[in-house]
């Protein structure tokens, strides 16, 4: 099994090292479930909100379609949306594999006062330079953001410069709306994506 993977031994970050707003005050996250003694004192580790929660939940992203209230969305929120995506070949999240990193997420506001369009650029770092799954990972990131962010965001997903041998080709595919649309109508590929998008934990 392990031999078939592009990268059988990826570097894995501990969850407590991942960027989060809730990290302050949490010195260490115990993955073994803890001793039970201090459980009630330590805030449960979690993300600011879960995009898959029902809309009635106050922590879910509220759609700004109806009331036109433009809600500020920052890089951390974008990170939280994509860091939990599962790597297609490891049972680990893209955040813990450092495939997505907070400093590689860039949000650009509207280019003019008349425009309402913002852009999110995510540069992903495949675990190894020839990783054949880079396109699938990128597609997963693009799909997650297109589904979770309000439609005023244009989502650009690219391979971080210098981290992949066929970055240009992958970038071109990920930037092609028509190809992405057709890919999402492909049952097999959607199966893979759905698995990735069901959050790793």
């Amino acid at each position: 099994m392990e031999e078939n993977k592009d990268n059988a031994n990826p570097i894995i970050l501990s969850a407590s090292d991942l960027p989060s707003r809730l990290r302050e005050g949490v010195t260490k996250e115990r993955k073994d479930g803890g001793t039970g003694l201090f459980d009630g004192l330590i805030p449960a580790y979690g993300y600011p909100y879960d995009p898959f929660e029902l809309p009635s939940s106050p922590s879910a992203i509220s759609s700004d379609d109806e009331n036109e209230v433009v809600e500020a969305i920052d890089e951390q929120e974008v990170y939280d949306l994509i860091a939990t995506i599962c790597d297609p070949e490891h049972p680990l999240s893209l955040g813990s594999l450092s495939v997505v990193n907070l400093p590689d997420i860039h949000i650009t506001g509207p280019s003019s006062p008349r425009s309402k369009i913002s852009t999110v650029l995510v540069e992903i770092t495949p675990t190894i330079t020839h990783c054949s799954l880079a396109t699938v990972i990128g597609l997963g990131v693009r799909v997650r953001l297109e589904q979770a962010l309000p439609p005023r965001f244009r989502v650009d997903v690219r391979i971080k410069e210098g981290t992949h041998s066929t970055a240009d080709a992958v970038n071109k595919q990920l930037g092609d709306k028509e190809r992405v649309a057709a890919a999402l109508e492909n049952g097999t590929l959607m199966g893979v994506l759905r698995k990735m998008l069901s959050t790793c934990e």
Binding site: K172, G175, D176
Partner: protein, 439 residues
């Protein structure tokens, strides 16, 4: 971005949103060549036919395709019948037919009333029966991106992610034969379009090039490759016939300007292209007689013939760069000579061509300038420039706009003969109709 000349002289104002609209992404909308109706291809696997008189849905063509319908095209020159071709992500193209009913005005009035009464459902089912799914064209290996009929309606071209362009000929009704499979491109072929007067086909691709094809001794072959775009070519349009009149109507043309018009006349229709590289480029063919006359005199007719099929196209001009993201579609008006474009940034922009003020020094920083590789020595020094006539932001609110085209205005508020409307198609599923107004 600032444009030296541009204080837009016109406004793009909303006329109507066609109702009811698709609830998912709509890809493309095409006006019927003669009737006041349009066909809109949607990711919900259906085509909606709307009235341009009442702005309401007449029928919903369903059941033919298993995946998104990406494109559609009306066959020109049909008599008593409407024929629509559809291209789908399910790799097939479909041909649909419907008998035209009575006079066009009467018919659309009738349909409007009926659609309004039935409030959708009842009327729709009845209308659906009018459209007959007549042929399915199989052959492409992956998603079909574009479909286009030749000007006379004899040929249908389809293009696909499988990198090929197919040309089909309708030998008799519902009998389509593949006359060519052109595998010239190195990437998805995004669009195809035919020259308005010649059997000359153009295709734009993910490989950033444009290719032109023509039939020679029973075989279709590539006659020109247009390099220049730095990213995927999303859409192409040939200059409509009679377009030159817009420049020739100006009073007191100089000899040089006359000469440029004559040379353009020899070139035939120009081609315009838009791309993911955010540019719109105009391409012109170098008139044929010159190269043939100077290079080959007498002798070797067969070689001459082979040579003569190749065409030399060059980038004549670039339109002012106004879009901030990929430009997905453009259209060249048959009535006004204006060009309209749209794309991922949700803008709709209208451009016009005019004579350039003759100034001996070329300001290189200007938008829409004449390009350096345009012929300078052997061609007239008069030149034209493109400028922005109107600009609209957020045409479909925050959504991307996938397609835009011109159509004859057919509603009761039409202001003048030959008035046109702009039709935009968006990711919100909606199809919107816009008027172009002065001031």
């Amino acid at each position: 971005m600032s444009h030296p000349y541009t204080i837009p002289s016109h406004q793009i104002t909303p006329l109507a949103t066609l109702t009811p609209s698709s609830t998912t992404r709509s890809w493309q909308t095409q006006p019927h060549p003669t009737l006041p109706i349009i066909a809109s291809a949607s990711s919900d696997k259906t085509v909606r036919i709307y009235s341009l008189t009442s702005f309401t849905l007449l029928s919903n063509i369903t059941g033919g395709h298993k995946r998104s319908i990406r494109s559609c095209a009306w066959k020109p020159n049909t008599k008593g019948e409407s024929v629509l071709a559809t291209g789908s992500f399910d790799t097939s193209a479909g041909i649909w037919r419907r008998w035209d009913v009575e006079g066009e005005g009467v018919r659309s009035e009738y349909d409007f009333t009926r659609a309004a009464k039935g409030d959708g459902s009842d009327g729709e089912e009845e209308d659906d029966e009018e459209w007959r799914f007549s042929v399915i064209l199989d052959g492409h290996e992956s998603e079909i991106k574009g479909v286009a009929w030749s000007a006379g309606g004899q040929y249908l071209a389809t293009c696909s992610r499988d990198k090929s362009v197919w040309i089909w000929e309708e030998l008799e009704e519902d009998n389509f034969e593949t006359v060519a499979v052109l595998q010239e491109h190195e990437g998805d072929v995004k669009c195809v379009t035919w020259h308005p007067q010649e059997d000359l086909l153009a295709s734009g691709s993910y490989d950033d090039t444009i290719r032109l094809y023509r039939e020679d001794l029973d075989d279709w072959s590539c006659v020109a490759v247009l390099n220049g775009h730095g990213a995927t070519v999303w859409s192409l349009a040939f200059e409509p016939v009679g377009n030159k009149k817009w420049l020739s109507e100006v009073e007191g043309l100089s000899g040089e300007q006359q000469a440029l018009l004559e040379e353009r006349e020899k070139s035939g229709s120009r081609l315009i292209s838009c791309s993911d590289d955010k540019s719109i480029r105009v391409w012109r063919r170098r008139p044929k007689e010159e190269s043939v006359g100077s290079n080959h005199k007498g002798g070797m007719p067969s070689i001459l013939r082979t040579n003569s099929i190749e065409e030399d196209w060059y980038e004549e001009a670039r339109l002012p760069q106004t879009h901030e993201r990929a430009i997905y579609a453009l259209d060249w008006s048959k009535k006004s000579g204006m060009v309209v474009s749209t794309g991922s940034d949700g803008k709709i922009i209208v451009y016009k061509e005019r004579w350039k003020e003759s100034s001996p020094t070329t300001d290189t920083a200007k938008d829409g300038e004449q390009l350096p590789d345009a012929p300078t020595q052997d061609s007239p020094t008069a030149s034209t420039e493109w400028y922005v006539v109107a600009e609209l932001e957020g045409g479909h609110d925050v959504f991307e706009i996938n397609h835009v085209c011109w159509a004859a205005r057919r509603d009761k508020d039409k202001r003048f003969e030959d008035e046109e409307v702009i039709i935009s198609t968006g990711d919100d599923g909606e199809v919107k109709v816009w008027a172009l107004e002065q001031g």
